[in-house]
Structures are given as structure tokens and as C-alpha cells.
């Protein structure tokens, strides 16, 4: 057989490989795309002030 479906070790190895793949993609893709990653909460804009006076963000 070309893929050892009946070998339990194969399944363990495949799960490990899938976990590894998930780890790699998690670092690359924006959060929320992959299952089990937190979707970043809606980002709110806050205005920056210095000593009470608004400052221009450059």
C-alpha cells in the first residue's frame, strides 16, 4: 500500500506534521484566519494627546 493507513505510527506522525503546519502558518497569516487562533478584537482608534493637547500622528 502506498499510504500506511493501518499503521498507528503513521497517524501520530501525520498529526504531528499537521500541528507543525499549523504552527508555521499561524506565524505568517493574520490572526483569525486559522482555526484555533484568536480573532483580534475590533480595533478602536484612540486619539493621542500630549499634556491634554492633541498631537498629529506622523
Amino acid at each position: 500500500m502506498s499510504i500506511p493507513w493501518t499503521d498507528w505510527q503513521f497517524w501520530v506522525a501525520t498529526v504531528v506534521a499537521l500541528l507543525a503546519l499549523w504552527l508555521v502558518l499561524r506565524n505568517l497569516l493574520p490572526p483569525g484566519w486559522l482555526p484555533f487562533t484568536k480573532r483580534r478584537g475590533k480595533e478602536t482608534k484612540a486619539s493621542l494627546t500630549v499634556g491634554g493637547k492633541p498631537v498629529d500622528r506622523k
Partner: protein, 699 residues
């Protein structure tokens, strides 16, 4: 080294302010930010107080790094555990810069490093430079305005003494309204007194002026009042030039500065490559042995395969670079501590500015020659956001250590027995990478990152003898970050590639079966031969046949595995560059780690196994002569070699780097841009090289 509270005033004893609730001061966990101007020795003080143990994390919502160390003060019964947070050095709290904002938020109790609770700090420690009192007092005043329990650490007191200045601590304490402790972080003076003072810190009794100009005058007056020259003579403005005065112009002007800089860089890189070789060989050998050990000890099966060929190889591929990276950071830290790097940054500003990059970019770009990962992380020193992004995007163009095995392989194929040409090609590769990076930065700054060039202003610290302790702390810090980041990514990718390269299982090819049959026959013959001289030869031949069979089986298995099929499918894309399907597999797998290219080519061409050494003559020879499908043309023709070399110089083949780019640049889109741009440049360049050589008649 002084024990206990250090007394710097003229004979007076300072009594600690009375503390409600007992003489020892606060107990429990105290969160204390440490802040100050740059170049005040804040980091040295942090290291001196916390030892080499500290944690590095982030301030949530920013790319700003936070270092947290723990200092235990006091005895069993009343102990305080101080979580000292090293904040970035800033010239003023009121500036519109990320670092200043982080400091303001921490002081206001709105921000804490990841893992620490949010809330007002229990105390604040300001590090001030005793040799530059007036300016530092302005910063002290800004912090005192926040009305938190504050302690001032007056650092570099030994240098001030050396310059003939005695500072009246009592006057300072009276005027500031808080404790002032004289310390020398470098020498370890005053540290205990400082710890005790942090515990007993109180809200300042005065508030400095709110208006910035008034604050500056207040600081000036206070500086004058606090300073008494030793022996009553004010050190006047020297009319003779100091050493620094003579040295700085030399280091900073292009005619003298650039040769000096080049010499320093050559020395640094030579040291790195030569010294790092030894630990690299040990690590290589260690992981080779580890893989063998696993194969012997574990029962045969898929998991054994995974561990020996996926996990061990994966960890080894990262670990082997740790010596170079640690050495690079160690040396850079020493150089920075001396004060030289600030001068070099000024010098490099002229070189880098035409490409849209600031002088600050040169240390990150330099570090990227060992590995882009820590290089990109050190772009944090670049103040302007667009300039920083441009540096991050092009840093991977700098030839990193991982490309070296590929260069070695291909130049050996091209220039067999001609080390001079091989060496020149090597240097050419480095230069090609740097030039491509600079021009890419130029293009980026003219298009998507268009913006004014920030004028460069930089403080030039006094020259100092570098601190080994600081360098060591930095090295451990950075080395660990590299291992964690790169290590996890490379390991993960090696596992994935292992899986793709192991399945589906195939039956061994006919040719291998034939060889095994021959080998078996030969062994049977050897067993029955009476002539003892022939037996050894027969057994040896049998062994060779079996090795050959193994290699053929491995090569066939690889070719028909998932990754092999991917290689064959993708190959038409790379055909214009002169690559066949075997080379395509090599290119694909080197996305895990560039150095994996060598072992992949060795396996696919059945020249060797996973442990193929690029310095092994035999392996190189086999790869050199390995044929394509037509059976005649070698895979590595001259034109193809050049094409491969150029491709590897320019291509983005490092997933850990992409991950760090995404993180530091603040978005996956930057990593995608980096990937697309670099791949495009690499493809185009390799294409041009290959086709031009073909047109010129060189195949």
C-alpha cells in the same frame, strides 16, 4: 566597591525619610519601571541589579520590547520582590515618539509588559548621568511631575569624580524632594543603597515647574547648585583638544572613516567565521550522532523516522547557527558599548541616505549578514517608521550564513580547483545581495514608503571600555530569542517536509532490486568460497552494491513522494532558469532552511544521504556529474550553476524571516510584499543570467 549606603556628600549623613508602616519599607511584589535618557548606563544598571536573569517580552499593542528582571530586597521576614521593568531610553517624556508614549503610559498605569498586571507602579527609578547633570535633571523633573514614589539613581558617579566634580547629593535631594543615590553600575557601587531606597521611595515633596522652558531653567539652576568642584576650582572650558575631539572627526569623515570602518568590519566577520567554526563542527557532529543514536535505539517504524530525520535534522539545522549569531551579537554589543557604533552610524548615514535609509539602519543590515531574524528585530532603533519598514523589507537581501553552504557547493561545481575564482565569486555574491537590497530600498522609498528623509541627529557617548557583562547579557537574550523564533519555525517546516518527502510509500525500483539480488548472490558466494583472500573483496563489493541500492531506493522514493511530485509539477516554472525537476525539488525544500538544499540535492541525485556534507569531495563530485532525465546532460551545467547561485543570493527562502517581518512590520501584508518582491527579483535575475549565458553559447 562600597558596602552599604554610599556617602558622597562632604561628611553629611543622610537619614532615609521616615516611612509609615515600619522601617523596612514596602514588602510584597513591587512593579518598578526603570527609565532615563539614553546613554546613562540604564541597561548596565539593570543588568547589575537583576543579574543575567531576566525575561524579555513585549508591551501589548506595540513592537516595543520590555525587559523585566527580578530583584529581591530585604530579609526573610520582610522581603520585597521588585519587578524591575527596563523602559526604552528617551530624551523627554513629552516627545511624539513611540518610546515616549510607552513610558508615559507605563507611568500613568495604563500599560504594562505582557504578563505583568496593569496598574500604577509602586515606585519609579530614574537613572541620571552624573556627568551631564543639567540635561538629565530636565528629564528627572518631567518624571517627578507625575508624582509617583521616585528614586533617582545618579549613575556614572565614578566618571564624574574622575572629571573633578563632586555632586552634593543632599542639595539634590532637598530640591528634588526625593531620594538620590549615587551609583556606578559599572563598578557595582551603591547598588544596595539603591535597592533599599527603592523600597522606601516616597512621592516627591516638591513638584517641578510645569512649563517646559521654566523646567529647563530650573534644571540648570539646580545643576549649578549641586556641583562643587573638588578643591574649589571650576574645570574651565578646555582649549586643548581632548582625545575624543581628535578621534571623532577621523571616524566620521569619509576618507578616514570608511577605511577604519571597513577594517573593523573585516575583523569582526573574520573573528565570527573563524571562531564559530569550532562549535559549529561540534554541534554538527552532535546532531549526526544523535540521529544515529535514535535510529539504533528506537524500534523501526515511522516515528523513529520522524524523530531521526525530521526532528533531529530540524533542530540541528537551527542549532548549528547559534554560535555565529551569538558571536555577532557579542561583538556588536562590545563595539556599541565603546561608543564607536554611534560614530559609524553617522558615517554610514551618508552612504545609506541616497537609498532612502538612515544611518541607524546599518547595524541591523550588518547583523543580517549573520541572520536576518535578529537583524530585523534590531531595526527598532530606527526612529522613522517608513525608514524602519524599508530596512525590514530589504534586510533579507544581505547574504546570511544559511546561504553559505549553497555558495560553497555551487562555487565548487563552477570553479573546481580554482580557489581564487571561487573566492571572488563568493565576494561577488555578498555584494550582489547588498546592492540588490540598497536598490530595493531606494525603490520602496520612492513608491510605497515615500516620505521625507529624516535628518539624522545622534548623541555620541563618551568612549568607554566595553562591559563584558552587558555584552553577555545581550548575547544570551538575543541568542535565546533566535532559538525560540527560528527554532520553532525551522523545526516545524522540517517536519512538514519530512512528511511530504516520505509519502506515499513506493516499492523500490527495479534497478535497486537487481542490485540487491546481485549483492545477495555475492554474499552467498563469499560464504562458500574457500579462497580467503577473495572473501573480503567479495563482501566489500556486496556492501557497495547494497549501498548503491539504498541510494537508488532513496532517490526514487523522494522523486515519487509528494514533494517530488510537487517538484515535477512546478518544474515548468523553473525551466526558463535552467532547472530540471530534481533542482526544483531542491529549491522548494530550501524554503525550510536554505542549507537544506545541499542534503536534498544529495538525496535526490542519490549521491548521499541526509548527512551529506558540502565539504565532502565525493558528494560534490557525485552531484556535479548527476544527470538529468535524458541521461546525458548534467543537472548542474555552467549556465545552470550561475543561475542557481544568483537565485539563492536574491531569493526569499526563509519562513522564519517572513514571520518576523510580519510581526515587526505590523502586518502579514509586509511579509507577503517581501516574499513577492524578492522572489520576483531572484527569478528575473536568474532568468537573465541563464538566458544570457545560453545566448553567449555557454550552456
Amino acid at each position: 566597591m562600597s558596602e552599604g549606603p554610599s556617602l558622597e556628600t562632604v561628611g553629611d549623613v543622610i537619614a532615609p525619610p521616615s516611612e509609615p508602616g515600619g522601617g523596612g519599607g514596602l514588602t510584597g511584589v513591587l512593579h518598578v519601571p526603570l527609565l532615563g535618557n539614553p546613554n546613562t548606563g540604564k541597561t548596565t544598571l539593570f543588568n547589575a541589579l537583576c543579574g543575567l536573569r531576566h525575561k524579555t517580552s513585549n508591551f501589548p499593542g506595540t513592537t516595543q520590547e520590555a525587559r523585566i528582571g527580578v530583584v529581591r530586597i530585604g530579609s526573610e521576614s520582610s522581603e520585597a520582590e521588585v519587578h524591575l521593568v527596563d523602559l526604552p531610553g528617551i530624551y523627554s517624556l513629552e516627545l511624539d515618539l513611540l518610546e515616549a508614549r510607552v513610558c508615559r503610559d507605563v507611568l500613568a498605569g495604563r500599560l504594562s509588559p505582557k504578563g505583568e498586571p496593569i496598574g500604577d507602579p509602586e515606585a519609579v527609578c530614574i537613572v541620571a548621568d552624573a556627568t551631564n547633570l543639567a540635561r538629565n535633571l530636565v528629564f528627572v523633573g518631567e518624571v517627578l511631575r507625575r508624582r509617583l514614589p521616585t528614586v533617582v539613581a545618579l549613575n556614572m558617579i565614578d566618571l564624574a569624580r574622575g572629571q573633578g566634580r563632586e555632586i552634593n547629593l543632599r542639595t539634590l535631594e532637598e530640591q528634588l524632594g526625593c531620594r538620590v543615590v549615587a551609583v556606578s553600575a559599572r563598578k557595582g557601587e551603591g547598588l544596595e543603597a539603591l535597592s533599599a531606597a527603592i523600597r522606601t521611595a516616597t512621592v516627591p515633596t516638591h513638584t517641578p515647574p510645569g512649563d517646559q522652558t521654566e523646567l529647563e531653567h530650573w534644571a540648570d539652576r539646580l545643576a549649578v547648585r549641586s556641583m562643587q568642584p573638588a578643591g574649589g576650582n571650576a574645570p574651565g572650558i578646555g582649549t586643548t583638544l581632548s582625545l575624543t575631539d581628535r578621534l571623532d572627526p577621523l571616524l566620521v569623515s569619509p576618507w578616514t572613516g570608511i577605511p577604519i570602518f571597513a577594517a573593523v568590519m573585516v575583523a569582526v566577520f573574520y573573528a565570527i567565521f573563524s571562531i564559530a567554526q569550532f562549535p559549529m563542527e561540534w554541534i554538527d557532529a552532535f546532531f549526526g550522532t544523535a540521529a544515529d543514536f535514535v535510529e539504533r535505539v528506537l524500534p523501526e517504524g515511522i516515528l523513529r523516522d520522524l524523530i531521526a530525520r525530521g526532528v533531529v535534522v530540524g533542530i540541528g539545522a537551527t542549532a548549528v547557527f547559534v554560535p555565529q549569531i551569538c558571536l555577532l551579537f557579542f561583538l556588536i554589543s562590545l563595539l556599541e558599548d565603546t561608543g564607536y557604533l554611534a560614530r559609524a552610524a553617522l558615517l554610514m548615514h551618508r552612504v545609506l541616505r541616497p537609498f532612502g535609509l538612515p544611518g541607524h539602519a546599518f547595524v541591523p543590515l550588518l547583523s543580517s549578514h549573520a541572520c536576518a531574524l535578529p537583524g530585523i528585530m534590531s531595526t527598532r532603533v530606527i526612529p522613522d517608521r517608513r525608514e524602519r519598514l524599508a530596512t525590514i523589507l530589504v534586510a533579507p537581501f544581505m547574504t546570511c550564513s544559511a546561504r553559505l553552504p549553497v555558495y560553497v557547493l555551487v562555487t565548487s561545481l563552477l570553479f573546481k580547483g580554482q580557489p581564487l575564482y571561487a573566492g571572488l565569486a563568493f565576494v561577488g555574491c555578498y555584494m550582489l545581495g547588498a546592492i540588490a537590497g540598497l536598490f530595493s530600498a531606494f525603490i520602496a522609498r520612492q513608491t510605497i514608503l515615500k516620505g521625507p528623509a529624516r535628518p539624522m541627529v545622534l548623541e555620541l557617548p563618551t568612549y568607554k571600555v566595553p562591559s563584558l557583562r552587558t555584552a553577555l547579557a545581550t548575547t544570551i537574550d538575543r541568542g535565546w530569542v533566535f532559538l525560540k523564533n527560528a527554532g520553532t519555525n525551522i523545526l516545524a517546516i522540517c517536519i512538514v517536509l519530512w512528511w511530504l518527502g516520505s509519502y506515499p510509500h513506493v516499492l523500490p525500483p527495479e534497478s535497486a532490486k537487481l542490485l540487491r539480488v546481485q549483492a545477495t548472490d555475492l554474499r552467498a558466494l563469499a560464504d562458500t568460497t574457500t579462497d580467503t583472500t577473495k572473501v573480503e573483496a567479495q563482501r566489500a563489493s556486496a556492501q557497495k552494491l547494497e549501498d548503491e541500492a539504498n541510494r537508488l531506493t532513496a532517490a526514487d522514493a523522494k522523486a515519487r513522494s509528494f514533494i517530488g511530485r510537487m517538484g515535477k509539477t512546478v518544474q515548468p516554472v523553473f525551466a526558463p532558469l535552467g532547472y530540471d525537476w530534481q533542482l526544483t525539488i531542491g529549491v522548494l525544500t530550501s524554503f525550510a532552511a536554505r542549507e537544506v538544499f545541499v542534503s536534498t540535492m544529495a538525496i535526490v541525485t542519490s549521491a548521499g544521504g541526509d548527512d551529506a556534507d558540502v565539504h565532502d569531495e565525493g558528494i560534490v563530485q557525485s552531484i556535479a556529474t548527476a544527470p538529468r532525465d535524458d541521461g546525458k546532460t548534467p543537472i548542474f551545467t555552467t549556465a545552470t550553476c550561475w543561475s542557481v547561485l544568483v537565485f539563492f543570493v536574491l531569493a526569499m527562502q526563509c519562513l522564519p524571516t517572513l514571520a518576523v517581518t510580519a510581526k515587526e512590520a505590523g502586518g502579514a501584508k509586509w511579509a507577503l510584499l517581501q516574499l513577492v518582491w524578492m522572489s520576483g527579483v531572484a527569478y528575473a535575475a536568474a532568468f537573465i543570467v541563464f538566458q544570457s549565458l545560453r545566448l553567449a553559447g555557454i550552456s
